[in-house]
Amino acid sequence: MKLPIYMDNHATSPMDPRVFEAMRPYFTEIFGNSASRNHSFGWQAEEAVEKSRKQIADLIGATPKEIVFTSGATESNNLAIKGVAQMYAEKGNHIITAATEHKAVLDTCKHLEKDGIRVTYLPVQTNGLVDLDALKDAITDKTILITIMYANNEIGVLQPIAEIGKLCKSKGVLLHTDATQAVGKVPVNVIKDNIDLLSLTGHKIYGPKGAGALYVRRKSPRVQVTAQMDGGGHERGMRSGTLNVPGIVGLGEACAICNAEMAQESKRMSYLRDKLKGKLEKELDEVYVNGTMDSRLPNNLNISFAYVEGESLLMGINDIAVSSGSACTSATLEPSYVLKALGAGDDLAHSSIRFGLGRFNTEEEVDYVANKVIDVVKKLRELSPLYEMAKEGVDLSKVQWAAH
Protein backbone atom coordinates (compact mmCIF):
# COMPACT_ATOMS: atom_id res chain seq x y z
CA MET A 1 0.00 0.00 0.00
CA LYS A 2 1.31 3.42 -0.99
CA LEU A 3 0.97 6.56 1.10
CA PRO A 4 -0.52 9.12 0.91
CA ILE A 5 -3.94 7.66 0.13
CA TYR A 6 -6.22 9.62 -2.17
CA MET A 7 -9.84 9.48 -1.00
CA ASP A 8 -11.13 12.80 -2.31
CA ASN A 9 -12.67 11.62 -5.58
CA HIS A 10 -15.49 14.18 -5.48
CA ALA A 11 -12.87 16.89 -5.94
CA THR A 12 -11.23 15.13 -8.84
CA SER A 13 -10.24 11.61 -9.80
CA PRO A 14 -6.97 10.19 -11.07
CA MET A 15 -7.07 9.45 -14.78
CA ASP A 16 -7.66 5.84 -15.76
CA PRO A 17 -4.56 4.63 -17.68
CA ARG A 18 -6.90 3.29 -20.38
CA VAL A 19 -8.22 6.82 -20.88
CA PHE A 20 -4.72 8.20 -21.09
CA GLU A 21 -3.77 5.60 -23.71
CA ALA A 22 -6.81 6.50 -25.80
CA MET A 23 -5.84 10.18 -25.68
CA ARG A 24 -2.15 9.75 -26.37
CA PRO A 25 -2.17 9.75 -30.22
CA TYR A 26 -4.29 12.89 -30.33
CA PHE A 27 -1.60 15.18 -29.03
CA THR A 28 1.18 14.74 -31.57
CA GLU A 29 0.07 12.35 -34.34
CA ILE A 30 -3.60 13.04 -34.91
CA PHE A 31 -3.51 16.72 -34.17
CA GLY A 32 -5.97 18.03 -36.73
CA ASN A 33 -8.69 20.58 -36.15
CA SER A 34 -12.00 18.75 -36.21
CA ALA A 35 -13.50 21.73 -38.03
CA SER A 36 -11.10 21.37 -40.98
CA ARG A 37 -13.41 19.93 -43.62
CA ASN A 38 -11.05 19.53 -46.54
CA HIS A 39 -8.20 17.25 -45.49
CA SER A 40 -7.59 13.97 -43.72
CA PHE A 41 -6.11 15.61 -40.61
CA GLY A 42 -9.42 17.29 -39.95
CA TRP A 43 -11.44 14.21 -40.86
CA GLN A 44 -9.53 12.02 -38.45
CA ALA A 45 -10.02 14.50 -35.63
CA GLU A 46 -13.68 14.83 -36.48
CA GLU A 47 -14.10 11.08 -36.47
CA ALA A 48 -12.59 10.89 -32.98
CA VAL A 49 -14.85 13.69 -31.75
CA GLU A 50 -17.95 11.99 -33.16
CA LYS A 51 -16.98 8.70 -31.56
CA SER A 52 -16.71 10.46 -28.21
CA ARG A 53 -20.06 12.15 -28.73
CA LYS A 54 -21.63 8.74 -29.15
CA GLN A 55 -19.85 7.30 -26.10
CA ILE A 56 -21.16 10.14 -23.94
CA ALA A 57 -24.66 9.94 -25.40
CA ASP A 58 -24.75 6.17 -24.78
CA LEU A 59 -23.93 6.65 -21.11
CA ILE A 60 -26.85 9.02 -20.48
CA GLY A 61 -29.44 7.72 -22.93
CA ALA A 62 -29.11 10.62 -25.35
CA THR A 63 -28.32 10.85 -29.07
CA PRO A 64 -24.91 12.09 -30.22
CA LYS A 65 -26.31 15.27 -31.77
CA GLU A 66 -27.56 16.34 -28.35
CA ILE A 67 -24.03 16.54 -26.89
CA VAL A 68 -22.31 19.94 -26.84
CA PHE A 69 -18.65 19.89 -25.84
CA THR A 70 -17.47 22.40 -23.24
CA SER A 71 -14.46 22.93 -21.00
CA GLY A 72 -16.15 21.30 -18.00
CA ALA A 73 -19.22 21.30 -15.82
CA THR A 74 -18.84 24.92 -14.68
CA GLU A 75 -19.06 26.07 -18.29
CA SER A 76 -21.88 23.62 -18.99
CA ASN A 77 -23.86 25.00 -16.05
CA ASN A 78 -23.26 28.58 -17.16
CA LEU A 79 -24.26 27.79 -20.73
CA ALA A 80 -27.38 25.90 -19.70
CA ILE A 81 -28.72 28.40 -17.17
CA LYS A 82 -27.72 31.69 -18.79
CA GLY A 83 -28.44 30.23 -22.22
CA VAL A 84 -32.01 29.26 -21.27
CA ALA A 85 -32.64 32.52 -19.39
CA GLN A 86 -31.72 34.51 -22.47
CA MET A 87 -33.30 32.24 -25.08
CA TYR A 88 -36.63 31.99 -23.26
CA ALA A 89 -36.74 35.54 -21.89
CA GLU A 90 -40.06 36.20 -23.66
CA LYS A 91 -41.64 33.19 -22.02
CA GLY A 92 -40.70 34.04 -18.46
CA ASN A 93 -38.07 35.25 -16.06
CA HIS A 94 -38.20 32.85 -13.12
CA ILE A 95 -35.72 30.09 -12.27
CA ILE A 96 -35.92 27.63 -9.39
CA THR A 97 -32.84 26.02 -7.84
CA ALA A 98 -31.83 24.59 -4.46
CA ALA A 99 -29.70 25.92 -1.60
CA THR A 100 -27.27 23.00 -1.79
CA GLU A 101 -26.31 23.39 -5.45
CA HIS A 102 -22.71 23.79 -6.50
CA LYS A 103 -21.40 27.37 -6.70
CA ALA A 104 -21.26 27.06 -10.47
CA VAL A 105 -25.06 26.97 -10.40
CA LEU A 106 -25.70 29.30 -7.45
CA ASP A 107 -23.36 32.02 -8.62
CA THR A 108 -24.70 31.77 -12.17
CA CYS A 109 -28.19 32.30 -10.76
CA LYS A 110 -26.99 35.23 -8.66
CA HIS A 111 -25.44 36.75 -11.76
CA LEU A 112 -28.78 36.44 -13.58
CA GLU A 113 -30.59 38.13 -10.70
CA LYS A 114 -28.66 41.29 -11.54
CA ASP A 115 -30.08 41.03 -15.04
CA GLY A 116 -33.65 40.97 -13.75
CA ILE A 117 -34.21 37.22 -13.50
CA ARG A 118 -36.11 36.12 -10.41
CA VAL A 119 -34.55 33.10 -8.67
CA THR A 120 -36.06 30.88 -5.98
CA TYR A 121 -33.48 29.08 -3.83
CA LEU A 122 -35.38 26.17 -2.34
CA PRO A 123 -34.29 25.00 1.09
CA VAL A 124 -33.66 21.27 1.44
CA GLN A 125 -34.96 18.86 4.05
CA THR A 126 -32.70 17.60 6.86
CA ASN A 127 -31.94 14.52 4.73
CA GLY A 128 -30.54 16.81 2.03
CA LEU A 129 -33.33 16.24 -0.46
CA VAL A 130 -35.56 18.79 -2.14
CA ASP A 131 -39.19 18.70 -1.00
CA LEU A 132 -41.25 17.96 -4.13
CA ASP A 133 -44.33 19.74 -2.78
CA ALA A 134 -42.30 22.86 -2.04
CA LEU A 135 -40.85 22.67 -5.54
CA LYS A 136 -44.32 22.33 -7.05
CA ASP A 137 -45.55 25.31 -5.04
CA ALA A 138 -42.63 27.43 -6.19
CA ILE A 139 -43.52 27.08 -9.88
CA THR A 140 -45.29 30.09 -11.36
CA ASP A 141 -46.45 30.91 -14.88
CA LYS A 142 -43.18 32.82 -15.28
CA THR A 143 -40.99 29.82 -14.42
CA ILE A 144 -38.84 28.81 -17.38
CA LEU A 145 -36.22 26.59 -15.75
CA ILE A 146 -35.68 24.33 -12.78
CA THR A 147 -32.04 23.50 -12.11
CA ILE A 148 -31.46 20.81 -9.48
CA MET A 149 -28.31 18.75 -9.20
CA TYR A 150 -28.43 15.00 -9.67
CA ALA A 151 -25.98 14.16 -6.86
CA ASN A 152 -24.54 16.52 -4.30
CA ASN A 153 -20.78 17.02 -4.35
CA GLU A 154 -20.44 17.18 -0.55
CA ILE A 155 -22.98 14.79 0.89
CA GLY A 156 -23.57 12.62 -2.18
CA VAL A 157 -27.35 12.57 -1.87
CA LEU A 158 -29.27 11.82 -5.06
CA GLN A 159 -32.13 14.22 -5.68
CA PRO A 160 -35.41 12.74 -6.94
CA ILE A 161 -34.65 13.79 -10.50
CA ALA A 162 -37.13 11.41 -12.16
CA GLU A 163 -39.99 12.89 -10.08
CA ILE A 164 -38.75 16.42 -10.71
CA GLY A 165 -38.56 15.58 -14.42
CA LYS A 166 -42.17 14.41 -14.44
CA LEU A 167 -43.25 17.57 -12.64
CA CYS A 168 -41.34 19.78 -15.08
CA LYS A 169 -42.82 18.04 -18.08
CA SER A 170 -46.37 18.40 -16.75
CA LYS A 171 -45.81 22.11 -16.09
CA GLY A 172 -43.96 22.84 -19.32
CA VAL A 173 -40.84 23.98 -17.46
CA LEU A 174 -37.36 23.01 -18.63
CA LEU A 175 -35.21 20.86 -16.33
CA HIS A 176 -31.45 21.27 -16.12
CA THR A 177 -29.43 19.01 -13.87
CA ASP A 178 -25.82 19.32 -12.84
CA ALA A 179 -24.95 15.63 -13.00
CA THR A 180 -21.22 16.10 -12.52
CA GLN A 181 -21.02 13.69 -9.57
CA ALA A 182 -23.71 11.27 -10.74
CA VAL A 183 -22.80 10.44 -14.33
CA GLY A 184 -20.76 7.26 -14.50
CA LYS A 185 -21.50 6.42 -10.84
CA VAL A 186 -25.24 5.73 -10.99
CA PRO A 187 -27.48 5.06 -14.00
CA VAL A 188 -28.60 8.35 -15.56
CA ASN A 189 -31.08 8.41 -18.42
CA VAL A 190 -32.26 11.70 -19.88
CA ILE A 191 -35.31 10.12 -21.50
CA LYS A 192 -36.54 8.21 -18.46
CA ASP A 193 -35.84 11.15 -16.16
CA ASN A 194 -37.27 13.79 -18.53
CA ILE A 195 -34.09 15.85 -18.35
CA ASP A 196 -33.80 18.70 -20.87
CA LEU A 197 -30.24 19.82 -20.12
CA LEU A 198 -27.49 17.98 -18.28
CA SER A 199 -23.95 19.01 -17.30
CA LEU A 200 -21.08 16.57 -16.96
CA THR A 201 -17.30 16.65 -16.85
CA GLY A 202 -14.42 14.29 -17.53
CA HIS A 203 -12.23 14.63 -14.49
CA LYS A 204 -14.74 13.24 -12.00
CA ILE A 205 -15.00 10.00 -13.95
CA TYR A 206 -11.31 9.17 -14.36
CA GLY A 207 -11.03 11.27 -17.49
CA PRO A 208 -9.13 14.48 -18.24
CA LYS A 209 -9.67 17.92 -16.72
CA GLY A 210 -10.80 20.66 -19.09
CA ALA A 211 -13.21 18.46 -21.03
CA GLY A 212 -16.93 18.46 -20.31
CA ALA A 213 -20.26 18.40 -22.05
CA LEU A 214 -23.76 19.77 -21.96
CA TYR A 215 -26.63 17.61 -23.10
CA VAL A 216 -29.26 19.71 -24.86
CA ARG A 217 -32.48 17.92 -25.73
CA ARG A 218 -33.41 18.01 -29.41
CA LYS A 219 -36.85 16.40 -29.38
CA SER A 220 -40.03 16.93 -27.34
CA PRO A 221 -39.22 19.61 -26.63
CA ARG A 222 -36.44 20.93 -28.85
CA VAL A 223 -34.37 22.99 -26.43
CA GLN A 224 -32.23 25.91 -27.45
CA VAL A 225 -29.70 27.91 -25.51
CA THR A 226 -28.16 31.27 -26.34
CA ALA A 227 -24.42 30.94 -26.91
CA GLN A 228 -22.26 32.55 -24.24
CA MET A 229 -19.18 32.95 -26.44
CA ASP A 230 -18.99 34.42 -29.92
CA GLY A 231 -16.85 32.79 -32.57
CA GLY A 232 -16.83 30.21 -35.30
CA GLY A 233 -20.22 28.72 -34.50
CA HIS A 234 -18.97 25.32 -33.45
CA GLU A 235 -21.25 22.82 -31.71
CA ARG A 236 -24.34 23.83 -33.69
CA GLY A 237 -23.74 27.45 -32.77
CA MET A 238 -24.05 26.86 -29.06
CA ARG A 239 -20.38 26.81 -28.12
CA SER A 240 -17.74 28.36 -30.33
CA GLY A 241 -14.09 27.46 -30.03
CA THR A 242 -11.81 24.86 -31.57
CA LEU A 243 -12.57 21.52 -29.99
CA ASN A 244 -10.15 20.09 -27.44
CA VAL A 245 -9.79 16.84 -29.38
CA PRO A 246 -7.51 14.89 -26.98
CA GLY A 247 -9.65 15.94 -24.02
CA ILE A 248 -12.82 15.00 -25.85
CA VAL A 249 -11.37 11.60 -26.79
CA GLY A 250 -10.52 11.06 -23.12
CA LEU A 251 -13.97 12.16 -21.96
CA GLY A 252 -15.58 9.72 -24.40
CA GLU A 253 -13.35 6.85 -23.37
CA ALA A 254 -13.99 7.59 -19.67
CA CYS A 255 -17.74 7.44 -20.35
CA ALA A 256 -17.40 4.17 -22.29
CA ILE A 257 -15.49 2.56 -19.41
CA CYS A 258 -18.08 3.77 -16.88
CA ASN A 259 -20.85 2.44 -19.08
CA ALA A 260 -19.22 -0.99 -19.24
CA GLU A 261 -18.17 -1.22 -15.59
CA MET A 262 -20.64 0.87 -13.60
CA ALA A 263 -22.82 -1.96 -12.33
CA GLN A 264 -19.86 -3.88 -10.98
CA GLU A 265 -17.95 -0.82 -9.79
CA SER A 266 -20.85 0.70 -7.89
CA LYS A 267 -21.27 -2.55 -5.96
CA ARG A 268 -17.60 -2.47 -5.00
CA MET A 269 -17.82 1.21 -4.03
CA SER A 270 -20.83 0.73 -1.79
CA TYR A 271 -19.21 -2.31 -0.18
CA LEU A 272 -16.08 -0.31 0.66
CA ARG A 273 -18.06 2.75 1.74
CA ASP A 274 -20.28 0.69 4.01
CA LYS A 275 -17.25 -1.03 5.48
CA LEU A 276 -15.66 2.33 6.27
CA LYS A 277 -18.89 3.62 7.79
CA GLY A 278 -19.39 0.45 9.81
CA LYS A 279 -15.90 0.53 11.28
CA LEU A 280 -16.14 4.20 12.25
CA GLU A 281 -19.57 3.74 13.83
CA LYS A 282 -18.46 0.64 15.73
CA GLU A 283 -15.37 2.21 17.29
CA LEU A 284 -16.57 5.77 17.88
CA ASP A 285 -19.61 7.17 19.63
CA GLU A 286 -21.43 10.27 18.46
CA VAL A 287 -20.68 10.12 14.77
CA TYR A 288 -23.38 11.44 12.49
CA VAL A 289 -23.79 10.79 8.77
CA ASN A 290 -24.74 13.96 6.90
CA GLY A 291 -27.51 13.44 4.35
CA THR A 292 -29.66 10.41 3.78
CA MET A 293 -28.12 6.98 3.21
CA ASP A 294 -31.27 5.88 1.37
CA SER A 295 -30.60 7.88 -1.77
CA ARG A 296 -26.89 8.42 -2.14
CA LEU A 297 -23.88 7.92 -4.39
CA PRO A 298 -22.22 4.57 -3.66
CA ASN A 299 -18.81 6.17 -3.19
CA ASN A 300 -19.71 9.00 -0.78
CA LEU A 301 -19.52 9.18 2.99
CA ASN A 302 -19.90 12.53 4.73
CA ILE A 303 -19.73 12.14 8.45
CA SER A 304 -19.40 14.42 11.48
CA PHE A 305 -17.32 13.42 14.47
CA ALA A 306 -18.94 15.41 17.26
CA TYR A 307 -16.64 17.48 19.53
CA VAL A 308 -13.71 17.22 17.08
CA GLU A 309 -12.88 20.10 14.75
CA GLY A 310 -12.44 19.05 11.12
CA GLU A 311 -9.18 20.78 10.30
CA SER A 312 -7.44 19.39 13.36
CA LEU A 313 -8.64 15.95 12.29
CA LEU A 314 -7.27 16.45 8.78
CA MET A 315 -3.97 17.47 10.35
CA GLY A 316 -3.84 14.20 12.24
CA ILE A 317 -4.56 12.10 9.16
CA ASN A 318 -2.10 13.91 6.94
CA ASP A 319 -1.28 10.82 4.89
CA ILE A 320 -4.91 10.62 3.76
CA ALA A 321 -6.42 13.08 1.30
CA VAL A 322 -10.03 13.88 2.22
CA SER A 323 -12.04 17.11 2.68
CA SER A 324 -13.75 18.82 5.59
CA GLY A 325 -16.72 21.17 5.81
CA SER A 326 -14.94 23.00 8.61
CA ALA A 327 -14.61 26.75 8.31
CA CYS A 328 -10.90 26.52 8.92
CA THR A 329 -10.41 24.65 5.66
CA SER A 330 -12.29 27.17 3.54
CA ALA A 331 -11.05 30.45 2.18
CA THR A 332 -14.04 32.32 3.58
CA LEU A 333 -13.78 30.99 7.17
CA GLU A 334 -17.42 29.94 6.84
CA PRO A 335 -18.42 26.32 7.40
CA SER A 336 -19.95 24.40 4.50
CA TYR A 337 -23.18 26.02 3.25
CA VAL A 338 -24.40 22.59 2.18
CA LEU A 339 -24.18 21.18 5.70
CA LYS A 340 -25.68 24.38 7.12
CA ALA A 341 -28.60 23.96 4.72
CA LEU A 342 -29.37 20.60 6.34
CA GLY A 343 -29.99 22.50 9.56
CA ALA A 344 -27.74 20.25 11.63
CA GLY A 345 -26.01 23.21 13.27
CA ASP A 346 -22.70 24.83 12.53
CA ASP A 347 -20.88 22.74 15.14
CA LEU A 348 -21.49 19.55 13.18
CA ALA A 349 -20.41 21.24 9.96
CA HIS A 350 -17.11 22.12 11.65
CA SER A 351 -16.69 18.46 12.58
CA SER A 352 -17.42 16.95 9.17
CA ILE A 353 -15.22 14.90 6.89
CA ARG A 354 -16.05 13.95 3.30
CA PHE A 355 -14.70 10.62 2.09
CA GLY A 356 -14.89 10.22 -1.68
CA LEU A 357 -14.01 6.68 -2.71
CA GLY A 358 -12.85 5.94 -6.20
CA ARG A 359 -12.04 3.27 -8.74
CA PHE A 360 -8.47 2.90 -7.54
CA ASN A 361 -9.08 2.66 -3.78
CA THR A 362 -8.45 -0.77 -2.28
CA GLU A 363 -9.95 -2.54 0.71
CA GLU A 364 -6.55 -2.34 2.41
CA GLU A 365 -6.64 1.45 2.03
CA VAL A 366 -10.14 1.62 3.48
CA ASP A 367 -9.01 -0.37 6.52
CA TYR A 368 -6.00 1.89 6.99
CA VAL A 369 -8.12 5.03 6.69
CA ALA A 370 -10.73 3.75 9.14
CA ASN A 371 -8.13 2.82 11.76
CA LYS A 372 -6.24 6.06 11.40
CA VAL A 373 -9.37 8.20 11.66
CA ILE A 374 -10.50 6.28 14.73
CA ASP A 375 -7.13 6.81 16.44
CA VAL A 376 -7.00 10.52 15.70
CA VAL A 377 -10.61 11.17 16.69
CA LYS A 378 -10.00 9.42 20.01
CA LYS A 379 -6.87 11.46 20.60
CA LEU A 380 -8.60 14.74 19.74
CA ARG A 381 -11.56 13.93 21.96
CA GLU A 382 -9.12 13.55 24.85
CA LEU A 383 -8.17 17.12 24.04
CA SER A 384 -11.71 18.36 23.57
CA PRO A 385 -13.39 20.33 26.36
CA LEU A 386 -16.71 19.73 24.61
CA TYR A 387 -16.34 15.95 24.71
CA GLU A 388 -15.48 16.21 28.40
CA MET A 389 -18.55 18.35 29.09
CA ALA A 390 -20.80 16.06 27.08
CA LYS A 391 -19.52 13.06 29.03
CA GLU A 392 -20.24 14.94 32.27
CA GLY A 393 -23.81 15.28 31.07
CA VAL A 394 -23.71 18.98 30.20
CA ASP A 395 -26.17 19.92 27.47
CA LEU A 396 -23.92 21.91 25.15
CA SER A 397 -26.86 23.56 23.42
CA LYS A 398 -27.83 25.20 26.73
CA VAL A 399 -24.40 26.65 27.50
CA GLN A 400 -24.02 30.41 27.07
CA TRP A 401 -21.08 30.59 24.66
CA ALA A 402 -19.21 33.77 24.02
CA ALA A 403 -19.33 33.79 20.21
CA HIS A 404 -16.35 35.50 18.67
Binding site: E309, E311, S312, M315, D346, D347, P385, L386, A403, H404
Partner: protein, 136 residues
Protein backbone atom coordinates in the same frame (compact mmCIF):
# COMPACT_ATOMS: atom_id res chain seq x y z
CA UNK B 1 -1.94 25.18 4.27
CA UNK B 2 1.55 24.52 5.59
CA UNK B 3 1.94 24.49 9.36
CA UNK B 4 5.07 25.71 11.11
CA UNK B 5 7.18 23.09 12.85
CA UNK B 6 6.27 24.53 16.22
CA UNK B 7 2.54 24.23 15.51
CA UNK B 8 3.07 20.65 14.39
CA UNK B 9 5.10 19.90 17.51
CA UNK B 10 2.40 21.24 19.85
CA UNK B 11 -0.30 19.43 17.85
CA UNK B 12 1.55 16.12 17.96
CA UNK B 13 2.76 16.48 21.56
CA UNK B 14 0.36 18.82 23.28
CA UNK B 15 1.66 20.00 26.67
CA UNK B 16 -0.41 20.04 29.83
CA UNK B 17 -3.58 18.46 28.49
CA UNK B 18 -6.16 17.82 31.13
CA UNK B 19 -8.40 19.33 33.76
CA UNK B 20 -7.94 20.71 37.26
CA UNK B 21 -10.57 20.59 39.95
CA UNK B 22 -12.91 23.48 39.18
CA UNK B 23 -14.09 23.66 42.78
CA UNK B 24 -10.57 24.09 44.21
CA UNK B 25 -10.44 27.68 45.54
CA UNK B 26 -6.92 28.10 44.11
CA UNK B 27 -7.93 27.04 40.60
CA UNK B 28 -9.11 29.56 38.03
CA UNK B 29 -11.01 28.30 34.96
CA UNK B 30 -11.42 30.13 31.66
CA UNK B 31 -13.65 28.88 28.88
CA UNK B 32 -13.76 30.93 25.68
CA UNK B 33 -15.05 30.50 22.16
CA UNK B 34 -18.14 28.75 20.86
CA UNK B 35 -18.72 25.40 19.13
CA UNK B 36 -20.52 26.99 16.17
CA UNK B 37 -17.48 29.19 15.56
CA UNK B 38 -15.27 26.12 15.41
CA UNK B 39 -13.14 26.71 18.50
CA UNK B 40 -13.56 26.42 22.25
CA UNK B 41 -10.65 26.65 24.69
CA UNK B 42 -10.71 25.67 28.32
CA UNK B 43 -7.67 26.86 30.24
CA UNK B 44 -7.10 26.40 33.96
CA UNK B 45 -4.46 27.73 36.34
CA UNK B 46 -3.64 26.61 39.85
CA UNK B 47 -2.16 29.44 41.91
CA UNK B 48 -0.16 29.26 45.13
CA UNK B 49 -2.13 31.65 47.36
CA UNK B 50 0.98 32.56 49.39
CA UNK B 51 3.23 33.56 46.50
CA UNK B 52 0.76 34.29 43.70
CA UNK B 53 2.76 31.98 41.42
CA UNK B 54 1.01 29.72 38.92
CA UNK B 55 2.05 26.19 39.87
CA UNK B 56 0.03 24.29 37.33
CA UNK B 57 -1.80 25.05 34.08
CA UNK B 58 -3.94 22.72 32.00
CA UNK B 59 -5.93 23.05 28.82
CA UNK B 60 -8.39 21.32 26.57
CA UNK B 61 -9.18 22.74 23.14
CA UNK B 62 -11.73 22.02 20.45
CA UNK B 63 -10.37 23.74 17.36
CA UNK B 64 -7.93 23.65 14.53
CA UNK B 65 -4.26 22.73 14.92
CA UNK B 66 -3.27 26.34 15.47
CA UNK B 67 -5.84 26.73 18.25
CA UNK B 68 -4.52 23.59 19.94
CA UNK B 69 -0.95 24.81 19.60
CA UNK B 70 -1.78 28.31 20.91
CA UNK B 71 -3.40 26.97 24.05
CA UNK B 72 -0.70 24.33 24.57
CA UNK B 73 1.97 27.02 24.33
CA UNK B 74 0.02 29.29 26.68
CA UNK B 75 -0.01 26.64 29.42
CA UNK B 76 3.72 26.14 28.97
CA UNK B 77 4.34 29.85 29.41
CA UNK B 78 2.03 30.13 32.42
CA UNK B 79 3.99 27.66 34.53
CA UNK B 80 6.04 29.55 37.14
CA UNK B 81 4.69 32.98 36.26
CA UNK B 82 2.95 35.15 38.82
CA UNK B 83 -0.64 36.07 38.11
CA UNK B 84 0.39 39.60 37.20
CA UNK B 85 3.13 38.36 34.86
CA UNK B 86 0.66 36.01 33.20
CA UNK B 87 -1.59 38.94 32.34
CA UNK B 88 1.30 40.44 30.36
CA UNK B 89 1.19 37.58 27.79
CA UNK B 90 -0.02 39.05 24.51
CA UNK B 91 -1.54 37.24 21.56
CA UNK B 92 1.21 38.69 19.35
CA UNK B 93 3.79 36.81 21.44
CA UNK B 94 1.97 33.58 20.54
CA UNK B 95 1.71 34.58 16.87
CA UNK B 96 5.46 35.20 16.72
CA UNK B 97 6.45 32.07 18.62
CA UNK B 98 4.26 29.78 16.46
CA UNK B 99 4.67 31.73 13.18
CA UNK B 100 0.88 31.81 12.76
CA UNK B 101 -0.40 33.03 9.38
CA UNK B 102 -2.89 35.95 9.32
CA UNK B 103 -5.96 33.68 9.06
CA UNK B 104 -4.95 31.99 12.31
CA UNK B 105 -4.40 35.11 14.42
CA UNK B 106 -7.83 34.65 16.00
CA UNK B 107 -6.48 31.42 17.57
CA UNK B 108 -3.86 33.43 19.47
CA UNK B 109 -6.46 36.01 20.49
CA UNK B 110 -8.57 33.21 21.88
CA UNK B 111 -5.60 31.89 23.88
CA UNK B 112 -4.96 35.33 25.37
CA UNK B 113 -8.66 35.60 26.23
CA UNK B 114 -8.52 32.17 27.86
CA UNK B 115 -5.58 33.22 30.08
CA UNK B 116 -7.40 36.40 31.11
CA UNK B 117 -10.62 34.50 31.78
CA UNK B 118 -8.85 31.89 33.93
CA UNK B 119 -7.10 34.53 36.02
CA UNK B 120 -10.26 36.59 36.36
CA UNK B 121 -12.01 33.48 37.65
CA UNK B 122 -9.21 32.87 40.17
CA UNK B 123 -9.31 36.49 41.31
CA UNK B 124 -13.07 36.36 41.69
CA UNK B 125 -12.69 33.31 43.92
CA UNK B 126 -9.95 34.83 46.10
CA UNK B 127 -11.81 38.13 46.22
CA UNK B 128 -14.93 36.48 47.54
CA UNK B 129 -12.78 34.49 49.97
CA UNK B 130 -11.20 37.65 51.32
CA UNK B 131 -14.64 39.17 51.69
CA UNK B 132 -15.73 36.12 53.57
CA UNK B 133 -12.69 36.32 55.83
CA UNK B 134 -13.28 40.02 56.39
CA UNK B 135 -16.87 39.43 57.38
CA UNK B 136 -15.94 36.69 59.83
Amino acid sequence: MAYSNKVLDHYNNPRNVGSLDKSDPNVGTGMVGAPECGDVMKLQVKVNPETGVIEDAKFKTFGCGSAIASSSLATEWLHGKTVDEALQIKNTDIVNELSLPPVKIHCSVLAEDAIKAAIADYKKKTGSRQEQMASQ
